[in-house]
């Protein structure tokens, strides 16, 4: 509904290109915001707006943690408190150490003052608001890492409860450390910001403008991060941690980064908030505040930058502007119908009840929020959907450069053992994949094939053995480091990032090959631009390997794709990292014979370009056409190894695969065939 309304509104401007329209919209919005205090000279309303901005900034910060990286933080207000107390302590008269001459340099630059209240000389901290903003961001980010580090290994719901705990501890500490925070009474006399020697004073207007500047900055940072290598990695983690780490994303580092940046936003907001209020008490930062920020993010749309800003404004202004008016109307209505309690209802009191209802209703009926983050790409039109399928194969592969020729063995698995409790999933298995070769692994269900891939890619630990890739030991490395070394894989039960587009999914595969960090992503340095452009071109080339199967669908989210296409996206994602060896776990499962043949051809072409391949496959004809060597696993043991046609005749293999009776049938058939040949 929202979409159709937007498109109706957009119709008169249809002549203007979309980019331009966005730019013009932004300019209009900025102008309205900047002129608001001029036209509406009501200090209370301007103050409400400035408060709403504080919450919008908090919502932007929490959005990075919850919306982008998918880490449910229920104690986010802790970082708000840290920023607030940081500024409060260093500008109020609460902490006043004895004066000593080593304070003099700081006094010279205006950070402290010498004071005398009729005792010895004391130090009064006078940290500048403008300096406090970046410093508090750093301090809060530090605490973000400190709180995050022990908890990030936890599953999502445990993380939620631990952050809730931290969110409670911070106000408790603030309440208990009287000497620094003045306990429950809170800090008073916090300094207002100064600009060119003038204090902001009591008017809300200067805060309003500072708020606009800060919010513009935070929106800018959020958008830049979202559309960068970092943002993609966060969303990949949110969608599927295991796949993300197998695609080269360092989970710990990126989660900590999200925590740190989210905390930094809250720290800055804390400075702004208490500078405006000129007081800070522990009550201002408790669980209700964390929940309120969460409500704003959920209401606006998790992961949607503009959504959470709009959500925060709507809810905050609902509270400070509309509920009062609404209460009057409802009371008047009560008087009209003569019902006593309706005349008495005070809706302002029930704001938290309304928040609770919003949370529940949004979760039940509109989980993506009022402005969903996922930009839905238009469906393919009829012609594109029914276009003649142009297969990839050699045609599509001409943009993919050959792999460097290597000699010797690419992968050497020696005596690897994997146990799950009492179950031995792999029992002292040896496997060798020569550089440039294709090795297939076959075996009945539950024989340990996928476990072999998991242990090679670092997803399950080995209890014994060694895995050497191009001479380097893989055991003990984290999955993302293993990908970095050139080992990429697909999963048997496809693990794509469901809410990302085809292009974004495949771009995640490039993560380990790109370098831009948070700063260069926000600043979008020339280096970053070049890198990003090159990554996109390369990814489009990889996608083009599948002819016109994926290319026209590059902007669609992967959930809408056919099963076969999702498998192709997963292969493309693995190839995007330009691995030296590709591990394919049943790549043709669920494909019809024509599709299977097509994919087999493409795998063969990749092999001919020099890529080393290790493949799990149930379809024996595929194995026979592709593989140089076949390895057979059964109950965790390697029971055979050899050329495809040798293995096909191996007795033990037939027993494992087909059972005794079937084996005899096959043997009889083979004998008969032999007899006919003789005749």
């Amino acid at each position: 509904m929202l979409q159709s309304a937007a498109s109706l509104l957009g119709r008169p401007f249809a002549g203007i290109p979309a980019d331009r329209r966005k730019g013009i919209g932004l300019i209009v919005l900025a102008a309205v915001m900047l002129l608001f205090p001029v036209f509406h000279n009501n200090d209370a309303d301007i103050d409400s707006m400035a408060n709403a901005m504080s919450y919008a900034m908090l919502a932007l910060g929490l959005n990075i943690v919850v919306g982008f990286a998918g880490l449910l933080d229920l104690g986010y207000a802790a970082f708000f408190a840290i920023g607030a107390y940081f500024y409060g302590v260093f500008t109020s008269f609460q902490v006043m150490p004895l004066w000593h001459s080593y304070w003099a340099p700081l006094a010279a630059i205006g950070l402290v003052q010498k004071m005398n209240q009729g005792g010895p000389d004391l130090v009064h901290f006078t940290l500048s608001f403008w300096l406090a903003l970046p410093l508090s961001a750093l301090v809060a980010a530090f605490f973000g890492v400190l709180f995050g580090a022990p908890t990030l290994r936890l599953r999502g719901d445990y993380l939620a409860i631990v952050t809730l705990g931290f969110g409670e501890i911070v106000p408790i500490v603030a309440r208990n450390v009287d000497s620094v925070t003045n306990g429950a009474a809170g800090l008073n006399g916090i300094q207002a910001p100064m600009i060119y020697g003038h204090s902001f004073g009591v008017s809300a207007t200067p805060y309003y403008y500072v708020g606009i500047a800060m919010i513009a900055l935070l929106i800018f940072i959020s958008v830049r991060l979202r559309d960068s290598r970092i943002g993609r990695a966060w969303m990949a983690i949110r969608e599927d941690e295991i796949a993300a780490s197998a695609m080269g994303i360092n989970l710990v580092r990126l989660k900590l980064l999200a925590f740190a940046i989210g905390a930094a936003f809250a720290g800055m907001t804390g400075v702004f908030f208490v500078a405006k209020l000129q007081t800070a008490t522990p009550e201002m930062f408790g669980f209700p505040v964390s929940t309120m920020i969460l409500v704003m993010v959920v209401f606006g749309g998790m992961g949607s930058v503009w959504g959470v800003v709009v959500g925060a404004f709507i809810l905050q202004l609902l509270q400070s502007w509309f509920l009062q008016d609404l209460t009057q109307w409802v009371n008047a209505f009560g008087a009209l119908i003569g019902v006593h309690w309706v005349q008495k209802v005070d809706l302002v009191q029930s704001i938290e009840l309304i928040f609770g209802i919003i949370l529940v209703v949004m979760m039940l009926f509109r989980r993506d929020g009022i402005i969903p983050a996922a930009r839905k790409a238009p469906d393919l039109d009829f012609r594109a959907q029914h276009a003649e399928v142009k297969r990839g194969g050699f045609v599509g592969l001409d943009r993919i450069p050959r792999w460097e020729k290597r000699s010797g063995n690419a992968l050497e698995v020696r005596g690897v053992e994997v146990r799950f409790g009492g179950l031995i999933a792999l029992n002292k298995v040896d496997i060798t994949v020569p550089a440039g070769g294709v090795v297939a692994v076959i075996g009945p269900n539950g024989s340990g094939k996928s476990t072999l891939f998991n242990v090679i890619t670092g997803l399950v630990p080995a209890s014994a053995g060694s895995i050497k890739f191009e001479g380097a030991e893989l055991i003990g490395l984290a999955p993302h480091d293993i990908l970095r070394k050139g080992v990429a894989r697909t999963f048997q039960n496809i693990r794509l990032f469901p809410n990302l587009t085809v292009l974004e999914n495949v771009l995640v595969g490039q993560h380990a090959r790109l370098r831009s960090g948070p700063f260069s992503s926000v600043l979008r340095l020339p280096r970053t631009r070049v890198e990003e452009k090159r990554a996109r071109d390369w990814v489009l080339d990889v996608i083009a390997m599948f002819g016109n199967r994926l290319t026209p669908r590059a902007a669609q989210t992967v959930t809408g794709l056919s099963y076969a296409n999702r498998r192709r996206v997963e292969i493309a994602r693995a190839l995007a990292s330009r691995p030296h060896i590709l591990l394919l776990d049943e790549p043709t499962a669920g494909m019809n014979p024509a599709e299977t043949l097509e994919l087999a051809e493409q795998i063969k072409s990749l092999h001919e370009l020099g890529l080393t391949i290790l493949l799990i496959e149930h379809k024996l004809d595929v194995v026979t056409t592709l593989a140089d060597t076949v390895i057979v696993l059964d109950h965790g043991d390697k029971i055979a190894e050899g050329k495809p046609e040798e293995v096909r005749r191996n007795e033990e293999v037939l027993t494992a695969y087909l059972g005794r009776a079937a084996k005899e049938a096959v043997m009889a058939e083979a004998q008969q065939a032999g007899a006919e040949n003789v005749a």
Partner: protein, 309 residues
């Protein structure tokens, strides 16, 4: 009082709190064991329970600590109050499951947990808006018999709280171990898919878990009132978090673990407060929560659940 007496007294107090946390922790554990969901609404179902109990007692004409009952009348009033409170909170729990959480069962991600936060908020604010923010004096008909043990004192009401909690926990253990639906519950907790295929009605099992958990939370709410002689709209959050910590400490999903964890957290709270001050009690408890989760996520009695990947 000697130092020993002080600590003995804190152990007695800790066992009271521990019994209450254990009852609450069971609710977290039953639901988590089956749905892997942290049910935040549980915090305030407990709080609502203490108000239901308060009004039930008042309906008997009891108010404050003035009317003391003994013998059969006392047993009768307590039985009715427990029954009413537990039925009401149990029904609230079932309602939350049936009308809200069931629709979200197939939804991945934090949607269900966020919903329970919303429900918790709704319950909290409904109580705040209807009964007000004041602390309510809790009607308490328990006789004020006290025995001296050295310098410490053991009250009859402490003993009654232990007996009631023990009876409830034994009943629950029996239910989970030996009844048909209890067995179905354990089966579902282990492997919902397999349980469904073996003919377990998963919906009914989940509803039972919510009913039992919420009913025990109601009992906990009544015990809170009898122990502290007051109740307030605020009590759910702190007690809920401590009880959740108890569930995690014992091994979440593990029924005996929740009981053990509850007792330990009760003792940690009283003894820890004695040592470093009551205002730091929650810091100790959260520190335990974090340490357990980081170093022994399976808790004291739990086992690490197989990764469902």
């Amino acid at each position: 009082m000697t130092v020993f007496d002080v600590y003995l007294q804190q152990v007695i107090n800790g066992l009271n709190l521990g019994a209450m946390y254990a009852l609450l922790a069971l609710g977290f554990t039953l639901v988590y064991g089956i749905l892997e969901l942290i049910n935040f609404s549980h915090f305030n179902v407990f709080m609502v329970g203490s108000f239901v109990a308060l009004y039930t007692l008042e309906a008997f004409g009891l108010s404050g600590q003035t009317v003391i009952l003994a013998g059969l009348p006392l047993v009768g009033v307590l039985l009715v109050t427990f029954a009413v409170t537990m039925t009401v909170t149990g029904t609230i729990g079932v309602g939350i499951e049936r009308f809200l959480l069931r629709r979200l069962r197939a939804v991945k991600g934090p949607a269900a947990m966020i919903t329970t936060i919303g429900v918790s908020y709704i319950l909290f604010n409904i109580v705040l808006l209807t009964v007000g923010a004041d602390t309510h004096n809790f009607a308490n008909p328990l006789p004020t018999v006290t025995w001296a043990i050295g310098g410490a004192s053991l009250r009859l009401r402490d003993v009654l709280i232990w007996i009631v909690s023990a009876v409830l926990m034994i009943a629950l253990t029996y239910f989970v171990q030996y009844t048909k639906i209890g067995k179905a519950m354990r089966a579902t907790a282990q492997d919902p898919e397999a349980a469904r295929m073996m003919g377990v009605e998963v919906d009914r099992v989940i509803m039972t878990a919510f009913f039992l958990g919420s009913a025990l939370a109601g009992a906990g709410g009544l015990i809170f009132g009898l122990y502290y002689n007051f109740t307030s709209f605020l009590i759910g959050f702190t007690a809920g978090l401590r009880a959740f910590t108890a569930a995690v400490l014992g091994g979440i999903g593990n029924v005996p673990g929740a009981m053990l964890g509850g007792l330990l957290i009760g003792l940690v709270e009283t003894i820890g407060s004695q040592i470093i001050g009551a205002s730091w009690a929650d810091v100790i408890i959260f520190a335990i929560l974090v340490l357990v989760l980081v170093f022994r996520p399976a808790g004291l009695l739990g086992r690490i659940a197989p990764n469902k990947s």
